[in-house]
Subunit: 373 residues, 2 copies
């Protein structure tokens, strides 16, 4: 194995595939990065056991010059550290002995021990199945808006991930921990065959780190797997077993009071009601609507009490409500809106509140109230 390449190209791709490596893995071979040098390109492959990623560097813009094909398994973090400290524009990597590679630039030369390539698991990347195409920016934003409601330690496995449900030309992305629920709808121009899968929260978090806003993503469902193909990258994960609950039944349709208010102004009031305490438990925040005033109150364990008057809002319906929430759940939901205006839709103090915005009608956040006071 012998190739030469622009240092920064190799460094960027090594850093990208290293993101999914789990340094606490019990299987040390998964600390490795597989470098496969073909006739025309170099592939970098890593895996954490359930998520795998493959990045293909072609000759275009990479200055890649392959003298001899081959395949090695290295500890990527050391090669990353070496390349980061290098001033060279190009780097040459040569397998000099069975277990040593030589990494050389203009003046500096490293002899780096490598791992046994034969120990690495065979990873099949599935590039065919039930698929649709979506903008990276749109998918990433929808994931970030809905993953807030997921508890990764939920006992019900299907709830430890995001549900992707494609019906006709609408994709619904939903997350819930049974106390709150987030749903985003994305409308497509044409219909795609139906699809209903649960993607682990870890897969979602790792994917968000790697995809860029300008990518166009091919989303492919196959038996037991989801594959995202974008740019020069194939990102694949196992999916969660089990049936996601029918959450559409959870959304109330009729409300007694609809409060319309400024997102920024109201968020600031809630943040004041939620002073972090020593045990890092969330406060209970209470909204009391009386006529033209909302009284926001909280009692923060062992610290004290908070009270603030809020009057800049419009109201449709009943002008009397008294409802309490976990302040963190409420704030998480509010923060997913980058809009100017929020709508709080209330039935009574025992039914979930629904948070929406007229500026982003495809996003719905729902939070159950707490029965305190």
């Amino acid at each position: 194995m012998n190739f030469k390449i622009k240092k920064n190209v190799l460094l960027d791709e090594l850093v990208k595939v290293a993101k999914i490596i789990d340094y606490k893995t019990l299987n040390p071979v998964l600390l490795g990065t597989l470098i496969e040098v073909g006739v025309d390109d170099v592939s970098l492959i890593t895996s954490d056991g359930s998520i795998s990623i493959k990045s293909v560097i072609s000759k275009k813009d990479s200055g890649l010059d392959i003298t001899e094909a081959g395949s090695i398994l290295i500890k990527g973090r050391y090669l990353i550290e070496i390349l980061r400290r290098s001033d060279d524009k190009f780097v040459e990597i040569i397998l000099v002995e069975n277990n040593i590679i030589k990494v050389s630039g203009e003046k500096a030369e490293f002899q780096l021990n490598i791992l046994n390539r034969d120990d690495y698991p065979l990873l099949g990347f599935r590039e065919k199945g039930n698929e649709f195409e979506i903008k990276g920016s749109v998918l990433k934003k929808a994931m970030m808006q809905t993953m807030i409601s997921i508890d990764e330690f939920n006992k019900k496995i299907s709830l430890t991930g995001l549900n992707f449900n494609f019906k006709k030309n609408e994709l619904f992305i939903s997350g819930t921990d049974s106390y709150r629920l987030s749903q985003k709808k994305i409308i497509f121009e044409k219909e795609v065959s139906n699809l209903d899968i649960n993607i682990p929260i870890k897969t979602v978090s790792e994917f968000i780190k790697i995809v860029t806003d300008k990518d166009i993503v091919r989303f492919i469902q196959s038996e037991g797997y989801v594959t995202f193909i974008f740019g020069n990258t194939i990102f694949q994960s196992t999916i969660l077993e089990g049936q996601f609950p029918d959450i559409n039944a959870a959304f109330p349709r009729d409300f007694n009071s609809i409060v319309t208010l400024g997102n920024r102004e109201f968020s600031k009031v809630i943040s004041r009601a939620d002073i972090p305490n020593e045990e890092n438990t969330s406060a209970v925040v209470n909204f009391k609507l009386v006529g033209d005033t909302i009284w926001v109150k909280s009692n923060i364990h062992q610290i004290g009490n908070f009270e603030e008057k809020f009057q800049e809002f419009d109201l449709k319906g009943l002008d009397e409500q008294n409802i309490s929430f976990n302040s963190k759940f409420f704030m998480d939901a509010v923060k997913t809106f980058d809009t100017k205006v929020l709508e709080l839709k209330i039935i009574d103090n025992k039914k979930p509140i629904v948070i929406t915005s007229p500026e982003e009608p495809e996003l719905v956040q729902l939070v159950l109230p707490m029965f305190i006071n």
Copy 2:
């Protein structure tokens, strides 16, 4: 107790004095911030047991308006969180009951539990003694350049801090862990009475966080204490017992080889020789001077080997040396110079190397070699 003040002034001062609070303290009363409201000013006081700080807010620029004097002990972190989230320009603080204060702005109001003021230790701030004045920028820089050689867990107590030694009109600041030594000389216009004290490394680190470059610092030595007075702040610490070793005897005067080279260029080579490994141990870096070339080599445990040729240097004296160092010690020493040029002064492979720069003749770094290969 009842006063009103500009929110940002109170917030900045609370944040400053909170820096020395040790949240792992076994004495919970030291988690508190003492607020003493006098007739004309408000003092904020904190202590970690050995370091104490007092910040005095006068009426100037603070909008301070005192209705009733008094003294309370609060958990400063909560008041900080409250003020950070506030949009108000002014805040009013009133003692409403024995153990509750009311913190109010225009619309929001907090009722905050407070601690028992009588539990707080009596701190005497010593403002008289053997003293000199120095620029904050000069003192801070000298501390940062010399503290690198201190091992805070050294078994010899006097070595766990910086030695300040004032003779005639010269102040010598020195730190050593017996494997390396840092010394900075500061020359004053006039003589000050002799002074020789050891300031704990923790005091130095905390002081650096609080002093600003534009402060003029009064440095005061009194029995068992050192006090720094700057701006509106009194910062006081106990000093270390025991005699600091006579380090002037450690500096060699005659060298066989003096190498002059570019700081930035050479630092980059060393950083390449020092790839961090899994156990986070430092590499041993070897310099082999042969004629017009320095070969920089290192062997990084379980990772591999490094080698680089370095030729851009001037040499006085012997053109043959072969000397090895702990790469971290060497790098720490080199990094204290923000100069263009470094001088490496070598006797042989068993004697310490001395690192200096003609651009900053008052700073000397000394590192012992390792006897490997």
